[in-house]
């Protein structure tokens, strides 16, 4: 109980610190940067949801852009037709997308690895295409999409309060709340059982976990985050159009997950920051360098590709994993009395051997080392199966 409260207090403190930092940051920069912060914030929601699904649940999804589209269109529709207030609009975006997540999750729970990747890829391409279908253009606005009335900053903030800062605040609040909820959710029973189902589906099922249901639940949670992200996108961009949800968006989200560090929430923040600020920095650099138009307009894309490759090669466990590695190396230099209090290498993070899910179960089992050599010391004759059970009860 004490530990539970401690975790909750720690997460609350983290959320509060994040909000204060974001307040200071957003008020000290101009409207353009505020808008970028807002973008990074809503992308953080989507990436954090995806990292839970892919990192902890072992289910790859290349279709989260489509979930964002569902959220954005829901937000735009409820705001246009029923004039719902902002909070209700975002809640509707999350709830409707979560319902879509039930459907997708039920399909996805049967699939594995590249088959799941293919199905979600088709989802990412197929769903936004619906907006162009001639029978739906009346409802969804076709290629031009639906416009969303921009949110009005409260009068208490003053006449001259910039809209972009207000949008940034909304998006940042959404991101912090999402991260707070996900941190609590994944730190507890849900995250533990999800990891068990990822590492060994059969052993988890033998322990009484319903792996398929768990995966559907993970997809629903993840979809709700992406839906919220889509709703926030609609608020920030004041538009929900199919062009905002190309295949590249879905691929960028999964790239952000891997670059940040698979399965870690801080990694999700890193990934989202890279998604927004690397291309923006690169295009600033390109436009001021006096290169020809073709080169300058494609330079951000090239730098983005290079960053993807370089970070993946240099930090196989993502930026967060790399930072942790550096922190661990620094800690090992400290005297043992200090080191005792530092969280050890056995912390329940993402094991380095986790292979994402795009591989066969048999090779996965072979590659996961048996912790404490439990299988070897087992006297009950259970052999390898006993060892795997041991790992789950840990």
């Amino acid at each position: 109980m004490g530990a539970l409260r401690l975790t909750l207090v720690r997460h609350l403190a983290g959320a509060a610190a994040g909000l204060v930092a974001l307040y200071v940051l957003t008020t000290s920069v101009g409207p353009y940067r505020d808008l970028q912060i807002a973008q990074a914030a809503y992308l953080t929601c989507a990436v954090a949801g995806l990292t839970v699904l892919t990192g902890l649940g072992g289910q790859i999804s290349l279709g989260h852009g489509a979930f964002m589209a569902v959220g954005a269109y829901t937000a735009a529709l409820v705001s246009a037709h029923w004039g719902w207030p902002l909070a209700a609009m975002l809640a509707a975006a999350a709830v409707v997308t979560a319902l879509a997540g039930v459907l997708v999750g039920a399909v996805a729970a049967r699939l594995q690895g590249p088959y799941l990747a293919g199905a979600t890829l088709a989802f990412a391409v197929g769903l936004p295409g619906l907006a162009n279908y001639s029978h739906l253009t009346g409802l969804l606005g076709g290629q031009n999409g639906l416009t969303v009335t921009p949110p009005v900053p409260p009068a208490a903030l003053g006449e001259t309060f910039p809209l972009e800062r207000w949008q940034a605040w909304i998006a940042c609040l959404g991101a912090v709340v999402t991260l707070f909820l996900l941190a609590n959710l994944t730190g507890g029973r849900f995250g533990r059982t999800l990891r068990a189902g990822r590492d060994d589906e059969i052993a988890a099922a033998l322990c009484g976990l319903r792996v398929a249901r768990l995966r559907i639940a993970a997809t629903v949670v993840s979809a709700a985050c992406a839906g919220l992200a889509g709703g926030l996108l609609a608020v920030v961009a004041t538009l929900a159009a199919p062009g905002a949800f190309p295949l590249t968006l879905s691929l960028q989200l999964i790239a952000a997950v891997i670059i940040g560090g698979l399965g870690t929430l801080p990694g999700a923040v890193w990934g989202a920051l890279i998604l927004v600020f690397v291309p923006s920095w690169a295009s600033d650099a390109a436009s001021s360098s006096g290169l020809s138009h073709d080169v300058a307009s494609n330079l951000p894309l090239a730098i983005y590709g290079l960053v993807l490759i370089a970070v993946t090669l240099a930090f196989p466990r993502g930026l967060q994993g790399g930072l942790r590695g550096i922190g661990g190396a620094a800690r090992r230099r400290l005297p043992p009395s200090v080191r005792r209090f530092a969280p050890g290498g056995g912390a329940p993070g993402v094991p380095a051997t986790h292979r994402g899910g795009a591989d066969e179960p048999t090779t996965d089992q072979a590659s996961v080392p048996d912790p404490e050599g439990a299988g070897g010391r087992d006297d009950d004759g259970g052999g390898g199966a006993g060892g795997r059970g041991e790992r789950l009860r840990r």
Binding site: Y115, G118, D294, S297, L301, G305, L306, P316, A358
Partner: protein, 292 residues
């Protein structure tokens, strides 16, 4: 009835190209267990090289040769330089590296050739043939497309099944450690596998170029449909890739002809989900037991 026949013919032509892209993905998946997202970028780049040859007055066949040769080189270099370091690591990392390569190739093509799409000439006329007074949706060029893909498939089958090199390639893909013990240079075989796959992909690029035009992002749909076809057929089976490609081509042709061309991508999603719900590992997947 004529409409149905025409749609089927168009579907088969389109499906042949999907099948080639799917085959490129399957070859790489079998060899290195990597889904090569850079395939779309690689075939785009080689098609641009071919376009440059045609644009500078070279013949169609010279351009095709340039595309195929550059495909071999790009595939081999990509495997050796970028994919080798992440092989054996977490599989998603390899996916992200190929994704990075795709973005990089797209940017490079934009820098060199600009972002506006260019037209690409077909090898033969695209005017439809007539049969008994009715104009068919099948032109000599379409026949060439189907024939070229079939020829490459036959050549690959002969290579993999009938030659010593093919045996080594298969051994390196299925049991790398045992193959290494038998003296097969597994690394070299993997590089060769990637090169062959990229060659097939670059053929698909040149064949589809007259209808989609040549631009940095014109071939994105090819990757999506090729991957969908590969998944429908089962990623471990080259025959499945071909069947999946033809099935998908026909399905999309019917959706576009009978319902609406706006629903083509949604039709691909529906076809894929239908197949995967019945057979979660694709149509042609070998039955695999799970070790408990």
């Amino acid at each position: 009835m004529v409409r149905f026949v025409n749609l089927t013919l168009a579907g088969i032509t389109q499906g042949a190209v999907f099948a080639a892209v799917a085959l490129a993905l399957v070859l790489i998946w079998r060899a290195t267990r990597v889904v090569n997202f850079a395939q779309g970028g690689m075939l785009m780049f080689t098609t641009f090289l071919a376009w440059t040859v045609v644009h500078d007055g070279g013949s169609y066949w010279l351009a095709l040769g340039v595309a195929l040769a550059s495909g071999l080189v790009i595939g081999a270099v990509a495997e050796r330089v970028l994919v080798r370091p992440v092989e054996g690591g977490p599989p998603l990392n390899a996916v992200i590296v190929t994704l990075g390569l795709y973005v990089l190739l797209q940017a490079a093509a934009g820098m060199i050739w600009g972002d506006t799409p260019h037209s690409y000439p077909p090898a033969f006329t695209i005017k439809g043939l007539s049969a008994g007074g009715t104009r068919l949706l099948l032109s000599p060029f379409d026949l060439f497309v189907i024939g070229a893909v079939a020829l490459v498939m036959a050549a690959l089958t002969v290579l993999f099944v009938r030659t010593g090199l093919g045996l080594k390639l298969r051994a390196a893909a299925f049991a790398p450690e045992i193959a290494r013990l038998q003296g097969v240079r597994v690394g070299r075989m993997l590089t060769l596998g990637w090169a062959l796959a990229a060659l097939v992909g670059s053929l698909a690029g040149v064949l589809i170029a007259p209808s989609v035009f040549v631009g940095p992002s014109q071939f994105d749909a090819m990757l999506v449909f090729g991957f969908t076809a590969a998944v429908i057929g089962g990623l471990d089976s080259p025959a499945g890739a071909v069947a999946g490609g033809l099935l998908l081509g026909c399905a999309l042709s019917y959706v576009s002809g009978y319902i609406s061309s706006d629903l083509v991508t949604f039709g691909a999603l529906a076809a894929l989900i239908t197949v995967l719900m019945v057979r979660p590992n694709g149509l042609f997947a070998a039955r695999t037991g799970r070790r408990v």
